[in-house]
Subunit: 319 residues, 2 copies
Amino acid sequence: MSKSASVSQAAGLLRDSDRILVLTHQYPDGDTLGSGFALCHALRKMGKLCRVECADNIPEKYTYLYETMPPCPPFDAAFICAVDVADTRLLGNALQPYVGHIDLCIDHHGSNTQYADWLLLCPDYAATAMLICEVIRELGVPIDKSIATCIYTGIATDTGCFKYSNTTAYTHRMTADMLDQGIPSEMINRTMFDIKSRARVELERMALDNMRFYLSERCAIMAITLQMIDQSGAGEDDMEGLAPIPRQIEGVWVGVTLREKRDGSFKVSVRTGNHADASAICRVLGGGGHIRAAGCTVDGPLDKATQTMLDAVRTIIGR
Amino acid sequence: MSKSASVSQAAGLLRDSDRILVLTHQYPDGDTLGSGFALCHALRKMGKLCRVECADNIPEKYTYLYETMPPCPPFDAAFICAVDVADTRLLGNALQPYVGHIDLCIDHHGSNTQYADWLLLCPDYAATAMLICEVIRELGVPIDKSIATCIYTGIATDTGCFKYSNTTAYTHRMTADMLDQGIPSEMINRTMFDIKSRARVELERMALDNMRFYLSERCAIMAITLQMIDQSGAGEDDMEGLAPIPRQIEGVWVGVTLREKRDGSFKVSVRTGNHADASAICRVLGGGGHIRAAGCTVDGPLDKATQTMLDAVRTIIGR
């Protein structure tokens, strides 16, 4: 169990530390990276040594989050802070050596496994980046354009650009404060939400072709197989944002995306409307997440993975 | 030429009037309907007779905008206000008898043709609904849940859910004020942006199959033919939101959607990034709109329509 930290306690821990290592989750997204780099910008502005680590390569489209950051000499970490990482397993293999030595975790996942000494957790917030914004304000570092760009990225990506139910009046007000800094929000949104490579468009079309409906059409399952990925020429960057597609079909309560991995297992994303709890479905299979968006991993082959997911969905929505 | 009205002058004109008819544009969208019904809610709360008219049937998904409105007896209009209508041609055939008798227009299209006696215009605003919000505040009518629901709908739909470049800090702050009223934003966003019928998914797939690239791949043209519409079973409601698709492809500056009409002509939507002016392209062909989103109509058949559009695009982007 972690000790529960308030925003000011978290800021206090960071203020009293130096040589700070910020850890993000594998398959990094806009919230973990936006949170990590916002915090890193702020701590460096305070004169501290700080760097961000991620088990995976950071996709090129996120370069703008850190390209304005001055270089920082190498250092041995004296304080380790994980951001947007609900479970140490999500750190990925490369960061496993840090497990057991994480001083602070800042997160918005209700499913956080409390692995850090201190935990600043707010499951009501749409994004971890919102907590980071509050911590930076508490540290007394002005939110400048670089920091605002990172925080905006975290909020926009985790709310589906302000579309999801986690978006509140406070989310919009904090976002307005970020826009006051003259951030390139159009570029960010175009990069995060609009631009699709031709390989991605091809992959989407193949995936749509193979979408199937189950449980009185309440459940749609879309598979992304290795064959589709290879045939379309899609890279890792082209895979993001596929998960919401099945749930977007009229009448669908539970949208499931199954993505085949090289080891033959399937990475599962579950998305739900207000009729079902995605997190409950994934917990049945050892996963977790939010009420409307959750994930887990299941064994292949595809037929078996599909059946596993249908059984789990049926357990929760009961038909 | 119209007389230019400030927000308080527009509010004054409405305050001094009764039996008010609010006109919306044909092929109604969230902003014209959200604006119209927000204004109608407010004017009825002031005890005035007011109704909204549209040349086309209002798609069922917009029912929530007016279902809480108490009935209003029939009346002959004494004051006519058009909302979000840039040009009288956009009123559609059924509302043409009102042309020449429109007292006030409230709009955010820079291309407004100044057909009304008074014009409240703010091209910097993302949505006409933002002007309507200011007018209602000026009228002294509290922004309640019904009104906030309408205004949110206008803002969210015209900003692509806060994604487009027209979204400012003020847009987010006004939206936060609307969310303070406890509006069903999740339902609205799901209805406006997420839910797709299976016919729509099918139509999208066919359209993607037929997308073509021109002008060093800077221009993508997607055609929606009558045959595709018939084959997919798509209805009018299923057509919305197709226009942004071609511009979303990596490297595309100008995305063009050509939709075949029953008379053999094509309704054209042009979307651009920051490399080209959509409005300039459409003006070449007698249309208009915004810098990133504009429209026009061109003659068929498809080959000819495609060539017409390519010539117009080449005129503007020059290759």
